[in-house]
Symmetry: C2
Subunit: 336 residues, 2 copies
């Protein structure tokens, strides 16, 4: 009896926020495995801001998801059938497995992960792409020095929480920008951020002036828009800005808002650099080792926000854009 696979496929390219009608929820039998292939039952699906960009047409750092294709997603699953010498039944793997219940793979691009080293959701959080993004974006591009002031936007998100904690480990002063009192409390009390700005209730520009009396040395931007502009207005001399994302702008039906304070780069001899984490793939293993070491030492926490049920995928993606998650948003495919 064939196994039935359920999937979310891209039905239409959204304008603005994705709507239910932009998705097709489909089912089909899992095909027979060929030589060298494995069948994976997907357990956890990563919900990422970048997904919104993958749904758009046009040149980007990765080809768009095709209309009718299974939505691209990072995911963790378990091998349930194997015709592959390097993957055994029961192995846990991480890869771009898509928004579905089962995936057939030839093993390319898959990483074996060990649930004894860290709980599985952490492989989508601090030890996964968000952790890698934080690690390379902060350490490689911005080169933080002890005593510098690091500001991170989207601070309560999957990347932001890790950026702030690594900056603390590197003896920087860390200021997070997040939306809502609960997130701000979490960052200050649980993660040890030095200061937090609630963009929903505070004037970000004025708050940055107060929190960063000597200016911003490093700005790690996940959100773009007015918050990027506010941060640019407070740069210190030789500041480094890393552009990791612009989640405030992804669902604009019109054009992006460009940073009108970009001339602050000139005034402050500062730089603004874009990053895509995939470029660092050859160094993921070393980064994961260091991140895992910090976690083992109690200096770095991974926090995941778990939503259960594959059918909740469209809603989970909207939660992300409404800022309803704290930490890494993960879709758990099935009840235990």
């Amino acid at each position: 009896m064939p196994i039935i696979n359920h999937q979310f496929r891209l039905a239409a390219r959204p304008s603005g926020m994705p709507k239910d009608s932009d998705w097709n929820f489909t089912e089909e039998p899992v095909r027979e495995l060929g030589t060298g292939e494995i069948l994976i039952r997907i357990e956890l699906i990563s919900i990422d801001p970048a997904m919104r960009g993958w749904m758009n047409e046009g040149k980007s750092y990765i080809v768009p998801v095709g209309l009718g294709d299974v939505m691209r997603a990072g995911a963790v699953g378990r091998v349930i059938t194997s015709n592959h010498a390097q993957f055994a039944v029961g192995d846990h793997v991480l890869g771009m497995l898509g928004v579905q219940e089962y995936a057939v793979s030839d093993g390319k691009g898959l990483t074996r992960i060990d649930p004894c080293v860290a709980p599985l959701p952490v492989y989508l959080g601090a030890l996964g792409m968000p952790g890698m993004t934080a690690y390379f974006g902060l350490l490689d591009i911005c080169k933080p020095q002890p005593g510098e002031t690091v500001v991170v936007s989207g601070a309560a998100g999957a990347v932001g929480t890790v950026v702030g904690q690594i900056a603390r480990i590197k003896d920087c002063r860390v200021v997070g920008i997040a939306g809502g009192a609960d997130k701000c409390d979490y960052l200050r009390k649980d993660l040890g951020f030095d200061a937090v700005i609630d963009y929903k209730s505070q004037d970000v520009k004025a708050a940055l002036k107060e929190c960063c009396p000597n200016g911003i040395d490093i700005f790690f931007d996940n959100v773009g828009g007015d918050i990027l502009d506010a941060a640019l207005s407070r740069l210190a001399l030789h500041a480094r800005v890393v552009i990791c994302g612009a989640v405030s702008q992804y669902n604009n039906a019109g054009p992006m808002k460009g940073p009108s304070n970009y001339m602050s780069l000139l005034v402050n001899r500062a730089s603004m650099t874009g990053m895509v984490v995939f470029d660092y793939a050859s160094r993921y293993r070393d980064a994961a080792r260091e991140l895992a070491g910090w976690m083992a030492a109690g200096r770095l926490r991974s926090h995941e926000h778990i939503v259960t049920g594959l059918a909740k995928f469209p809603e989970a993606l909207l939660m992300l854009f409404r800022g309803e998650n704290t930490g890494k948003l993960v879709l758990k495919v099935a009840e235990d």
Copy 2:
């Protein structure tokens, strides 16, 4: 009998384009020299886009010109009286002498220049601040490699003409963006640019696509606005953008236009860096030696556009913002 000095003083902070009423044309006797002071008769005054920024209030890379103060300007003059051991009567000097006929100085910040090495106006052009800006902005920040495509905006201006010529010397393909057929002809025929885009008659985005089939490796921006956005949309992987100025935006009464295509920095793992030439002061001498060498070898030309008469200063500044100059705009204080 005291010498009478005429001066342009800032009367009001302009909104938008400077108006005649923003200036006071004043006269006063030159004061007696103290010990260690020299009196300089100013011959040539540098007209720079940056002047517009110096007229605004607010934090920048240099303090604003105070209301009532003589307008700040780089200038070349001749020492006519000296109480200073290191400056003799007849010496030519370069420094921030202001928009006036005479300056008293203690010698600080002055450079002695030799009219036998290069004609005096060249010390305000390719061997002066514009040359230094082009040299350090291109070579230090962008690190051009042979075969790379370098695009420069404001290409027919004092900085742009030198940027393009240095890029050619470094075996890059050079594309200039300038306004009007005469300037474009000059860049292509006289300075050897590989391609030129006339932003007044061409669609810059489409023309960049045609002129830069493999994308833009280096964009040296003097103008900002829509041209910056067009260039961002054509970046190659690992492109470097240097923000040297934004002359299209300096006279906005409203806010600056931010580059709405800035996420191209992420897609292309590119960087955008601001520069202020003063930071390189300790290396001016070495740069001038190399630039003078290229000039002597016929590989680099300095072109100056000379307007005569101190009283023409307000008009000369407007010529700059209307793009009526080719090469370095210089105000010659008096007829020969």
